[in-house]
Symmetry: C2
Subunit: 253 residues, 2 copies
């Protein structure tokens, strides 16, 4: 299993947070020590696990300053969380001029690699200093992809960004996989996009496909993971399947 | 009708581009001269109108440098487009240190106010220099909101950002309205979130609600607006209704 996985896609609303939270929980359930890093000022991963960002010191400040994170228990056993907060946004401006701005997260996580079996990083939408920090720190990238036309268009851009980070900031970066999300077999466009993406990126597309399932949105509104909220739902089965696929350490694409 | 409207929400995938493109087309259909500014490096508004970003000189460069935009016909009569391209992303770094970085778009559009009845700006997700430029240049903000829990959580953040821009960069900025999108009356969570948002922001929520309708995604994959692609669909009716609501110049909230 890859040690540090960035869950990233510059396209918005494709299921990055939903995937990061539910995969982190799945891996912890399977006995792994997991750290979930919320690198988005929206702090959606933080609130999806029931943590309110007003009470936690925004870990982002120490993190982006290159200090080890103050992770806290996320609730479920073996799952730690580095929470975020809207104030993280201000750090982007502060760091903009720093020469080593892209390596702060890598440095902050260096000491954590030994403490956890897996570190998942939930990235914000758009290509910002947060996403480049995550790509510079990660061993590989999991790219959630909504089976829609505009999201597919952005995939080539995202793959290009990963390749350019691999050439520059992080030569060992790979694509862990492309995860098809919000898939509804009754929607023609979803089927067409899925077929086209598999055609272009056959090796990268993961076997697991996440179906569209409103139980996922309900779960986050109850600050629960899908496996806690609706363990017999189609989405819970899919995220359990994804967890097994990641544990079987699919050869990195 | 407000002259410059930014279509913005830092939450990803809530229908910003879909709203900007279809509202722009609706207003042009109703006889207004409209400019649609694509301020997202993803260039989704550009490709939704069938323009390929590889062939157009990225207008963003001249725009963010404060020069008048080179708008081109978007196709439909009375609709002009300022296209974007992925290369716009690089401009964010170049501008980061400039003292007047937030006012470049405002300056670039100053001369355009007289040429168009309405200028719509499609903003990227996340709060970046592109969104602050749009908020500094706009008269008001239209906030598309998916009726989901995580999107609702972000609304308070977005309203806070608009208020702080109003206090600083642009004292005349107002909230044009909150547009509920991807609404499915059969989904409990959608109804609950819609009711909660109306409770908190009663004056700001627009009367028009955009239903979840796969015809919208299909339309963008055919580089057509909804009114061209599926004029009798529920989504086409909703965007026509939104156009009328905007034309009736609802008092700014
Ligand atoms: N498979 C799914 N089926 C139905 N709804 C889903 C699914 N996955 C995610 N959602 C919902 O869709 C919305 C977007 O998902 P999410 O917030 O995880 O995406 P994101 O890529 O993290 O967004 P952002 O770009 O804003 O960070 C959320 O309201 C979430 O609850
Ligand atoms: N009312 C709707 N019903 C169904 N699908 C929709 C609706 N509105 C938008 N979509 C689809 O949902 C996806 C997200 O919409 P869109 O890209 O317009 O959101 P956005 O806020 O501009 O995203 P981003 O944050 O990446 O800029 C697109 O694939 C679009 O076709
Ligand atoms: Mg997210
Ligand atoms: Mg968009």
């Amino acid at each position: 299993m890859q040690k540090i996985i960035a869950v990233a896609n510059q396209k918005g609303g494709v299921g990055k947070t939903t995937t990061a939270v539910n995969l982190a929980y799945g891996l912890a359930l399977a006995g792994r020590e997991v750290l979930l890093v919320d690198l988005d000022p929206q702090a959606n991963a933080t609130s999806s696990l029931g943590h309110s960002f007003s009470t936690v010191p925004p870990q982002g400040h120490c993190l982006v300053a290159g200090k080890p994170p103050k992770a806290e228990s996320a609730g479920p056993p073996r799952l730690a969380l580095m929470p975020s907060a809207p104030s993280l946004q201000a750090v982007a401006r502060i760091l903009a001029g720093a020469p080593d701005r892209d390596f702060r997260l890598k440095r902050a996580l260096a000491g954590e690699r030994e403490r956890y079996d897996c570190i998942l990083i939930d990235c914000p939408p758009a290509l910002s200093i947060f996403t480049t920090n995550a790509l510079a720190a990660a061993d590989s990238v999991l790219v959630p992809l909504q089976c829609e036309y505009l999201a597919m268009e952005g995939l080539a851009q995202m793959v290009g960004v990963i390749r350019s980070v691999k050439r520059g900031l992080n030569p060992s970066l790979g694509i862990y996989g492309i995860l098809l999300t919000m898939f509804d077999a009754d929607v023609d466009l979803n089927r067409e996009v899925a077929a086209e993406v598999r055609g272009h990126f056959e090796r990268e597309v993961l076997d697991t496909v996440i179906p569209r399932d409103e139980a996922l949105s309900e779960a986050s509104s109850h600050a629960k993971t899908i496996l806690e909220y609706a363990p017999r739902s189609r989405a819970a089965f899919a995220y359990a399947q994804l967890t097994l696929e990641v544990l079987s350490d699919r050869a990195e694409k």
